[in-house]
Symmetry: C2
């Protein structure tokens, strides 16, 4: 919080340390001894589970109305025979409702709200400090929170603290920032639906993304709220725990998939929710939603380096639902004026490996932008060929391709950069390429499959809105 330059007073409460201070903050021996001049908006509770109900009691007396319980050791540890955690949670709720306190958690990371400099993200050095009992190596890294607390447009609600933390920490390499991040924990009071309802109307939030494992309320209520929300902004859901059989491997295991996943799929169909399968797909989809208008059709053109990758790209593009219409003969002939037939293939996918240059690439993208049968263009080749072998700089490359599509064509250019690379320089360049992409109007995906999948899902949400006559 200090690293994030939280502007308001922070009070540390712990009776054990009243004679000490921590980073310039003094310790109070109890909640009641906190000075009254500044009202306390939020209490972060990190004491052993069994002490939390009495802390809530004390907060109530102090007039604090919002508590984030970081502590674990509640119902998540319960077994069929031992419901101690559940009982503690009920006690928390009883105490909280007596004073009108709202609780986030327990067993969660809390909230990141960059606009208020409130965060649970930490710098690389802080992470090392947190483990300083170990002989940690002194590695140079991010020294302050820097752009980790940039104000952004993406809300992320997560039922996993680890995933909330990871997602937030990756912000600088993903090229987007967060309006808010919420780690939900056990949801004994404030839950997914409360936050979803809030983000629906939050003017700072342009996209709502979630990692969820289960819903604590009626399915109908959730579906209704989702429908209202998707009419206003994209909702991307990664549903974890699709397979119920992790803990019951002996039981029928396709059965588990069918029931559960089918339900989520039909919910997504009804509500326009964009369903994704894992973390990488979640970040791909957020980048896609932030960057592109809806593709009007499934027609895509694929630019490729070699015949083999062209075939691979075609398989991956079509496997993921897009279509690849042919180029018209007129366009092929126009391209043949500067790219000879030999060792190239100008149908779709287009490959012109040996005769590739930045100028030719841009020229071809421009031409494809005028063709009605394509709504999207997938560049299935990383920039390394043009940068390392043709001597272009990466920045020139980025600038050229980001301006290649005719303005207002309504079409989108999706790029691919492989994580497999012959040279370390190539990997480094691809990372730089990715991190600079969003601010230049395109997304860099890890594979053609990922680009196609995201494009297809984005098209589908567009069609959903069209059907509801929203766009």
């Amino acid at each position: 919080m200090k690293g994030a330059q939280f502007p308001n007073p922070i009070y540390l409460v712990n009776p054990k340390y009243i004679d000490e201070d921590l980073m310039g903050y003094k310790f109070y021996d109890s909640i009641s001894s906190i000075p009254d001049e500044t009202p306390v908006d939020l209490a972060i509770i990190a004491v052993p589970a069994q002490l939390t109900p009495s802390i809530i009691e004390q907060l109530g007396k102090k007039g604090v109305s919002f508590a984030h319980i970081f502590s674990s050791g509640f119902s998540e540890l319960d077994t069929e025979f031992d419901k101690k955690g559940k009982k503690l949670e009920e006690e928390l709720i009883r105490n909280a409702s007596r004073y009108g306190i709202r609780i986030l958690g327990p067993n969660c990371m809390g909230i990141v709200a960059p606009k208020s400099n409130l965060t649970f993200l930490m710098s690389f050095r802080s992470m090392q400090e947190a483990n300083k009992e170990f002989d940690s190596k002194n590695i140079e890294g991010l020294d302050d929170l820097g752009n980790l607390i940039n104000n952004g447009q993406v809300a992320f609600i997560s039922q996993s603290g680890g995933i909330a933390f990871t997602h937030g920490m990756l912000s600088h390499s993903l090229g987007y920032s967060f309006s808010k991040i919420v780690s939900l924990g056990n949801q004994i009071d404030l839950d997914l639906l409360d936050f979803l309802r809030y983000f629906k109307d939050d003017p700072e939030t342009k996209i709502i993304s979630m990692y969820i494992e289960n819903i604590k309320r009626e399915g109908n209520e959730f579906v209704r709220l989702l429908k209202e929300t998707t009419a206003k902004k994209p909702v991307i859901i990664w549903k974890g725990g699709i397979f119920q059989t992790g803990h019951q491997a002996v039981m029928s295991h396709t059965g588990g998939l069918a029931g559960n996943y089918k339900m989520w799929e039909s919910m997504a169909c009804q509500t326009g929710v964009i369903l994704v399968d894992n973390f990488v797909e979640l970040t791909d989809m957020i980048q896609t939603s932030l960057t592109y208008p809806f593709p009007q059709t499934l027609g895509t053109a694929v630019l490729s380096m070699s015949g083999g990758t062209a075939v691979e790209s075609t398989d991956e593009v079509e496997r993921n639902g897009l279509l690849m219409p042919l180029l018209t003969q007129e366009v092929t002939q126009k391209i043949n004026q500067f790219i000879p037939e030999i060792n190239s293939n100008l149908k779709n996918p287009l490959e012109f490996g040996g005769k590739n240059s930045l100028e030719h690439t841009v020229k071809i993208i421009k031409m494809l932008g005028e063709e009605p049968q394509f709504s999207s263009i997938i560049m299935a080749s990383s920039p390394e060929y043009l940068v390392f072998r043709r001597g272009n700089s990466l920045d020139d490359y980025i600038k050229a391709i980001s301006n290649a599509l005719p303005p207002h064509s309504g079409k989108i250019l999706l790029c691919v950069a492989s994580s497999m690379n012959m040279f370390e320089q190539g990997i480094k360049m691809n990372l730089e390429f990715s991190s600079k992409s969003l601010s230049n109007g395109f997304v860099v995906y890890r594979s053609t499959a990922a680009a196609a999948k995201s494009c297809y899902r984005w098209w589908k949400y567009g069609k959903y809105l069209e059907k509801r006559k929203i766009v």
Copy 2:
């Protein structure tokens, strides 16, 4: 070839340059003027397509019996109305058969045979030189062929020259080397089956891998040969062009998938071939085959860092065919002696984020190695936590986990290192981790899904051999 230290004479033939020399080699004005003292084993032909038939004629007169035609511009350019390329190829075959010459190609990269220092791979600097008409930047890179021509155990047959080249060039980061690489091209004479038959009996080749788009001979002959081969060594096939509709997007497109892919799948079932879907899966599968014994069952234990990734891993593991039996209570209790219950989950997946240490990790792997319900263990967490936050060195980490499984347990440990990373150091470390893995007895996959998929496929080949009573 010079970079690869090809030990025998190389004769350059080109009448235009008879007064010049290239890297110390003189030019001959015709094939007939090459001195007779050393017999010529191989001719590499890189002249315009229409000249190739007369070159074959000249080679015949000289007594050269093997020609690799690099040139393109043959049947691959033909259209429905223009079969010029096909006619040229027929002329080539007529001329070749008159002299008993065997042809590889045309339209291909040729052969890499490290033992003979024969190669089409090139150093990074050579690649830049090849494009020196452009103002290429001088980037430090591999200066000679180094380990690109290491003698290895993997044969790769490819119908795409680009993929053959890429695969070869990635050898040093993939951690394996090649016995031979063959780029097939148009297969007018020597074809896939010829090479497959050769590699079946090649004592240097332990694994046969392929990229193929189509078969030029009878399906039955191919199936018979595959059956003979899989009885001796693993055959991994990446079939490109699963979707026939890239060029005919308007036509029914699931129809294309069903017919074609189903045929390949049933062929794989019959023959024990390991079918993969793309380049990354091909390399994953080669690494898997080179490294592990067959898993005896589908039972796998997953080690994870946080609750969220544990759920993600479970989904990915089960989606790809493996099963996750529970830990016995005895083992859970043993682990609870050093890892407290709070913030950990010791069923399966096992997650013990905050209390993770290298010592604990190794201890747990050892215990899992003794449990009969697991044949494989997937470490779904990259080493960065232990290296950056707990101060272990990567080499200690590698050493510890590579020795963790009890010898002769017959079980396998599969590792995962994400390409998404909060810090550049993490990405670099994961690359180093991957490149050192194979020589330490384990494989590092890019995702839990990839690990599970490869493990499942390897198990399936094992079962196939069992059924045929081969193992």
